[in-house]
C-alpha cells in the first residue's frame, strides 16, 4: 500500500508542476522545438543511407531484409513448412497436462501479439500506402513473410538462453542469448556478445521511449483530436494534458502496482483486434467487386510505381519499412515476450512465433491496406503525418460511427503496447544498471516523462526518432543471430526428426 501511495503522490506532484508550467501558451510547440533537433540527429545516424537507383536506402532496412531472406533460405522455408505444426502447438495438441498452469504457447503468442498489433497496423500502413501507393502493400506482405523466419530464429534463441531465476520467475531476450549464446563460442565471442548485449539493451531502452511509447501516445492523441473535431477541438493544443492523463494511467500500472488495469487491458485488446479485423473484412466484402482492381493496383503499383517518388525502390522502401516497424521481426523485442513460455524444446516457441508476423502483417496490415485502397481514401498528396487519421477516414466512409470505435481501439492498443514496452525497456535497463529500487524507479519515471513528450510533439519527429531507436536494436540482435544460427539449426533438426518419427507425445486427439 505504501508503494501505491508513493506512486500516486509522485504522479500528482508531476501533474501539478506540469499544469503550472502549461499555463503559458504553446507548451506543445516548446516541447517540440526542444526535442526535435535531438530526435532528428538520432534518426539521421540510424538511417544513414546510400543511394540505390536515385533513392536513399537506409542501411538498416537492407540489414533487416537481408537477414530475413538468409534465415528463410538457411532454414529451408521454415515460414512455410512449420506453419501447420506451429498451429498444432498453439492449439495445445502437444500440451503436457503436468504443466497445466504454466504459460502455454497460446498465451505467449497472444501476449507477444498484443504488444505488436496496434498502431503499426493502423497508422503505419496508412503512411506506407500514402507515401508508396497501393504497391507498398505487396512489399509489406513480402517483408512480413520473410520476417517470419527472423522471428523464428530470435524467439527460439530467446527461450534457449533465458535465465531461470532462483525465485522461479524467468527472464529472457536478446541480452541473454547475446551474452550466453556467444560465450559458448570462445573468449573472443564472449567479449563480442557482451558488447552486443549492452548495445541491444541501450537501443531497447531507447525503443521503449520511442516506438513503444512516444509514437503510441502521439498517434492516439492525434486520433482523439481527430474525432473530437480536429483543429477546432478544445483538445487540439493540449497534447501535454492528454500525455499527463496517459502517464498517470501507465504510472498506476508500472509504479502503483495496480496490475488490474493491465490485466483488464490484456483481455480487451484481443477483443478490439477482432472487432477491427471484422470491420475491415466487412468493408472489403461490401465492396467485393472492387477487390480485384485493388489487388491489381497492389501488384501493378509494386512494380511500376507510377507517380511515386523514388519509383519501385521508393515503393519497396515504404512497404518494407512499415512492415518492419509493425511486426518488429529482427528487432528482438518479441524474443523477450516469447521467452516466458513453458517448454523444454526451445524451437517449439520459434514455430509459434511464426504466427506473429503472419497475423500482424500478412493478415491485419493487408486488411487495413485493402480498406484504404478500396475506399479510395489514400492520396499521394495527403500529408503523410496524418497517419492514423487516414485509416480512420477510410473506415468512416463505410461506417460513420467507426472513428469512435477506432479511437477506443487505438487508445487501448497504445496503452497495452506501452505496458509491454515498459517491461522490455525495464528489463534492458536493469540489465545495464542492475536491479534495485532506485534504478527501477528512475527508468519508470523517465518512461512516464516520455509519454508526455510524445503527446506534445509533432508526428514527423516522433516517427523518425521511434523508427530509429527500434531499428537500431536490429543491429546487435541480428548480428548475434547470424553467429547463433547453427545452434538454432541443431535444435530444429533434432526436434523435426522427433516430430516426423512420431516420438512426440500428442496429448490432444483431434
Amino acid at each position: 500500500m505504501t508503494k501505491l501511495r508513493v506512486g500516486i503522490t509522485t504522479l500528482i506532484g508531476l501533474f501539478a508542476s506540469f499544469s503550472a508550467f502549461a499555463q503559458e501558451v504553446g507548451i506543445d510547440e516548446k516541447i517540440n522545438l526542444a526535442i526535435k533537433p535531438f530526435a532528428d540527429a538520432v534518426a539521421g545516424a540510424v538511417f544513414s543511407s546510400f543511394p540505390v537507383a536515385g533513392v536513399q536506402i537506409p542501411f538498416v532496412l537492407v540489414w533487416l531484409i537481408v537477414a530475413a531472406t538468409i534465415f528463410t533460405f538457411y532454414f529451408n522455408f521454415i515460414n512455410l513448412r512449420a506453419l501447420k505444426h506451429g498451429f498444432e502447438l498453439v492449439r495445445g495438441d502437444y500440451h503436457d497436462p503436468k504443466a497445466a498452469g504454466e504459460v502455454t504457447h497460446f498465451q505467449a503468442l497472444a501476449t507477444a501479439l498484443s504488444g505488436t498489433v496496434g498502431l503499426g497496423n493502423i497508422a503505419g500502413v496508412a503512411v506506407a500506402v500514402s507515401l508508396g501507393g497501393p504497391g507498398a502493400t505487396f512489399w509489406m506482405i513480402l517483408a512480413g513473410f520473410l520476417g517470419m523466419s527472423s522471428k523464428f530464429t530470435e524467439c527460439t534463441l530467446g527461450v534457449k538462453y533465458r535465465d531461470e531465476l532462483p525465485d522461479g520467475s524467468v527472464s529472457g531476450g536478446p541480452m541473454y542469448y547475446l551474452t550466453k549464446g556467444l560465450a559458448e563460442k570462445g573468449a573472443n565471442f564472449a567479449r563480442l556478445g557482451k558488447v552486443l548485449a549492452v548495445m541491444f539493451a541501450i537501443f531497447c531502452v531507447g525503443g521503449s521511449f520511442g516506438g513503444g511509447n512516444m509514437f503510441q501516445a502521439n498517434q492516439s492523441f492525434s486520433q482523439l483530436v481527430n474525432v473530437t473535431g480536429g483543429d477546432a477541438s478544445w483538445l487540439a493544443d493540449k497534447g501535454w494534458l492528454f500525455g499527463l492523463i496517459i502517464a498517470a494511467l501507465v504510472g498506476l500500472v508500472i509504479m502503483g502496482g495496480i496490475k488490474g488495469i493491465a490485466r483488464v487491458t490484456s483481455k480487451i485488446v484481443p477483443f478490439m483486434a477482432v472487432v477491427y479485423v471484422l470491420a475491415g473484412l466487412t468493408i472489403i466484402l461490401m465492396n467485393i467487386t472492387l477487390v480485384p482492381s485493388a489487388i491489381g493496383q497492389i501488384i501493378d503499383g509494386a512494380f511500376t510505381a507510377e507517380g511515386i517518388s523514388g519509383g519501385v525502390i521508393g515503393v519497396l522502401f515504404q512497404g518494407f519499412k512499415r512492415a518492419a516497424f509493425s511486426n518488429e521481426a529482427g528487432v528482438g523485442s518479441a524474443a523477450i515476450a516469447h521467452s516466458a513460455v513453458q517448454t523444454n524444446r526451445p524451437v517449439t516457441e520459434g514455430f509459434v512465433a511464426l504466427y506473429e508476423p503472419f497475423v500482424d502483417t500478412i493478415v491485419v496490415c493487408t486488411i487495413t491496406a485493402l480498406v484504404i485502397i478500396i475506399t479510395g481514401t489514400w492520396d499521394p498528396s495527403v500529408d503523410p503525418s496524418a497517419g492514423v487519421q487516414l485509416t480512420s477516414s477510410a473506415f468512416e466512409s463505410a461506417f460513420s460511427w467507426f472513428p469512435y470505435v477506432l479511437t477506443i481501439a487505438v487508445l487501448l492498443f497504445a496503452f497495452s503496447t506501452m505496458i509491454s514496452w515498459s517491461y522490455y525497456g525495464l528489463k534492458s535497463w536493469t540489465f545495464l544498471f542492475g536491479e534495485n529500487k532506485v534504478t527501477d524507479a528512475t527508468y519508470k519515471l523517465l518512461f512516464l516523462f516520455f509519454v508526455v513528450i510524445g503527446s506534445s510533439m509533432q508526428l514527423g519527429s516522433v516517427i523518425d526518432f521511434s523508427d530509429a531507436m527500434i531499428f537500431a536494436m536490429a543491429f546487435p540482435n541480428l548480428l548475434g543471430c547470424y553467429f547463433l544460427l547453427p545452434v538454432v539449426k541443431k535444435e530444429l533438426n533434432e526436434y523435426w526428426a522427433d516430430y516426423k518419427s512420431g516420438k512426440l507425445v500428442k496429448t490432444r486427439v483431434s
Binding site: 504454466e102 504459460v103 498465451q107 531461470e164 524467468v170 523477450i336 515476450a337 505496458i419
Partner: protein, 144 residues
Amino acid sequence: MSAVLMVGIDCSECGDRAIEYAIDYAKRSGAKVFVSHIIEWSPFSFSTVEENFERHKRREEELKRAYSEVIDPVISRLKDEGLSAEGLVRHGNVAETLHELAMENGATNIILGRQGKSKLKAHVFGSVGSHLVQMAKCPVTVVP
C-alpha cells in the same frame, strides 16, 4: 478390484459433506480415497508480459497454498479415520480436470459436494456437477 474414490473439493470446509460421505463409503468398502482440488485455469486466457514471466513462480505458490490450506487438513482427517488417502492439485477446467484425474488414477467413483448455485447462475454458467455427469466414464455422486 477394490473401489477408488475421487473426491473433488473447493475449499476445506465447503467439501465437508462430500468428505463425510466419502469417509462413510470408504469405511464400508475399503476404498482408497483421492482428494483433489482444481485451480480454475485456461490455457487460452490472455495475460500481460509481466504476468507471463512471473507465472511459474505464481503457479508454485498456488500449488503450495492449495495443499496447505485445502488438501492437507482433509488428508490428515482421512488418515485419522484410518483410511488410505492421497491429495492432488492441478490447474485446469474444474470438471474436465477432475475427470482426467479420476481416469488417471483408476477411480471407480467421483464424489463432489453441490455448490449450491442459484438456478439462474447454474443455467448460464453450468455447474461442475452437471458437466461431470454428462461426460464422466464412471459414476458421479453429487452430495447435497
